[in-house]
């Protein structure tokens, strides 16, 4: 299928949780790590997200995405470890480099929040069909235009990549060097990117016309071909998530 998708088609309990419930989990799990800024609590939430990924049989799929965040995490540790304003207690020194307990604790908190954020979004994206999620959001009142943008980007990027391949071949056949050292590649960049962008703009205008004549901007109430799927435990899980959010807010206010 000519489309970008991170969805992993597996049979698991998490795959059978309603898309909007998973979206609520993303929001709640991120929010509570800010409402209760305790390292142990954030660690617990992060481990919960990790467990859910494992139950959803998509843990391995999240690893490349986590790997991408390593640079961010390292920079957090260095910046906070060295320069956190409350740095007092020296933890250890290597030459002129000194790490402080306060800074590293805060860096650990930020790191866990980042990891939890990635993993909770991972739960949503890896175990949910995006068209189903977007359709559910439109049914809940999200603008169909935003829904369209979300879905079309995922399909059009591979198409643009294919166009780029065709244009690269065309330019090569006319003698342009596209491979080699950095200078050669930089010189090849504009003759390649300009036709791709112009082609995409032209297609975008035509696609806008196609949408227009198929009533995309009509003010009529939309109907849907796909029926909403029936999911089990939706109310129970959503109630638990709302309760967790309320309890954490109450705890924060009272403590």
């Amino acid at each position: 299928m000519s489309t970008m998708t991170l969805y992993v088609d597996k049979k698991s309990f998490i795959h059978h949780v309603a898309p909007l419930t998973k979206l609520l989990y993303v929001m709640v799990s991120i929010a509570i790590t800010y409402i209760i800024p305790k390292l142990e609590f954030v660690l617990f939430v992060t481990l919960t997200s990790l467990l859910i990924l494992a139950i959803g049989k998509v843990f391995r799929k999240i690893l490349p995405i986590l790997a991408l965040s390593i640079l961010l995490i390292i920079s957090i540790i260095i910046v906070q470890g060295f320069f956190h304003p409350e740095n007092q207690t020296v933890l250890y020194s290597i030459g002129f480099i000194t790490f402080y307990k306060e800074g590293l604790t805060f860096a650990a908190l930020l790191t866990l929040r980042v990891l939890n954020m990635i993993m909770s979004f991972g739960i949503l994206i890896l175990t949910t069909k995006h068209d189903e999620l977007v359709e559910d959001l439109i049914k809940k009142g999200m603008s169909p235009k935003i829904g369209y943008v979300l879905l079309s980007v995922l399909q059009l990027i591979p198409q643009m990549r294919a166009t780029m391949g065709k244009i690269t071949d065309a330019q090569r056949s006319r003698g342009m060097e596209t491979e080699g050292n950095l200078l050669v590649r930089v010189k090849a960049f504009f003759p390649l990117i300009v036709p791709v962008v112009l082609n995409s703009l032209h297609n975008t205008r035509e696609r806008a016309i196609a949408l227009e004549v198929r009533g995309f901007n009509t003010k009529m109430k939309k109907t849907f071909l796909n029926l909403s799927k029936e999911y089990q435990y939706t109310k129970t899980i959503q109630s638990i998530l709302w309760a967790i959010l309320i309890v954490t807010i109450a705890w924060r206010i009272l403590s």
Partner: protein
């Protein structure tokens, strides 16, 4: 009764001085197949846009005159409202795919969902369209995994499912192979039998000569002629408008053979074969 009425239509695109459509008037009866011919930039596509409401609503610009489609004055109604009466299919099949659906079946449903068609009715119409365009076998495929000809048929099916009274096709076969082009013409001919009015801008003159009831010749935004294919293609000044007469007409002119029914030069291979056969 006329399903399309164009009265003194003038239009110029924003930031241009020249009229893209210059005082065009004509009428079309329900179920007629009208071919639009003319050189590139003659104004064929602009006329197609004007009949579907994209001119002036989508393109803006200077607009004069009146266009009525199925009783609606185009200028007074939104494109979305006109879409229920007029379908538009254009040249590039790729850019007509919405890029938001994952199967051909869902792709065809897109317009119906927007028009608020009830689900059971939607499925019935989609099945009819798939059947009419003979694409039921690819209904579960991803739209971008299809060939150009298949995509164009999906584009037509998507529009047909919306049950328009008028179908406008702007060079729908320009990116198709001969087989694909023939299929599109056959489909369109079947649609006229269902009572759908067809307006088709096309460079494949031989095909238009075979299928069209009337031909509109356009040049520099002006309607030069609007008559039967036999009358329009018998004109001696066709090359002045960038048009080459159909093969049958050129043979007829070269051999001095006229269609005994119309006393004009034949426009189809069938007609000239009949005349030659009679002479032999």
């Amino acid at each position: 009764m006329s399903i399309i009425q164009v009265e003194g239509l003038k239009y110029k695109y924003p930031d241009t001085d020249q009229l893209a459509l210059d005082d065009i008037s004509f009428e079309v009866k329900q179920g007629e197949f009208i071919g639009l011919i003319g050189r590139n930039t003659a104004g064929k596509s602009t006329l197609c846009f004007a009949l579907s409401g994209l001119v002036p609503h989508f393109f803006n610009g200077g607009y004069g005159g009146k266009v009525f489609v199925n009783g609606l004055e185009v200028r007074q109604h939104e494109v979305g409202d006109i879409a229920a009466h007029v379908g538009l299919v254009f040249e590039n099949p790729f850019s007509q795919m919405t890029a938001s659906k994952y199967t051909v079946f869902e792709e065809i449903a897109f317009g119906l969902e927007n028009m608020g068609v009830e689900r059971n009715e939607m499925i019935t119409r989609m099945d009819e369209s798939l059947d009419l365009l003979d694409i039921t076998s690819i209904k579960d495929k991803h739209p971008f995994d299809l060939s150009g000809g298949q995509m164009q048929r999906v584009a037509i099916a998507s529009v047909i499912a919306m049950k328009p009274k008028i179908l406008i096709l702007d060079e729908p076969t320009s990116q198709l192979d001969p087989q694909g082009s023939e299929e599109v013409f056959k489909v369109v001919e079947n649609l006229t039998k269902e009572g759908i009015t067809i307006i088709m801008a096309e460079h494949k003159i031989d095909k238009l000569a075979e299928y069209a009831d009337k031909v509109a010749l356009i040049d520099h935004g002006k309607l030069i002629d609007f008559d039967t294919p036999a009358k329009v293609f018998s004109r001696d000044d066709l090359p002045d408008y960038g048009i080459t007469a159909p093969t049958a007409t050129r043979i007829g002119k070269a051999l001095g053979i006229k269609d005994s029914k119309t006393d004009l030069f034949p426009v189809t291979i069938k007609a000239i074969s009949r005349e030659i056969g009679d002479k032999l």
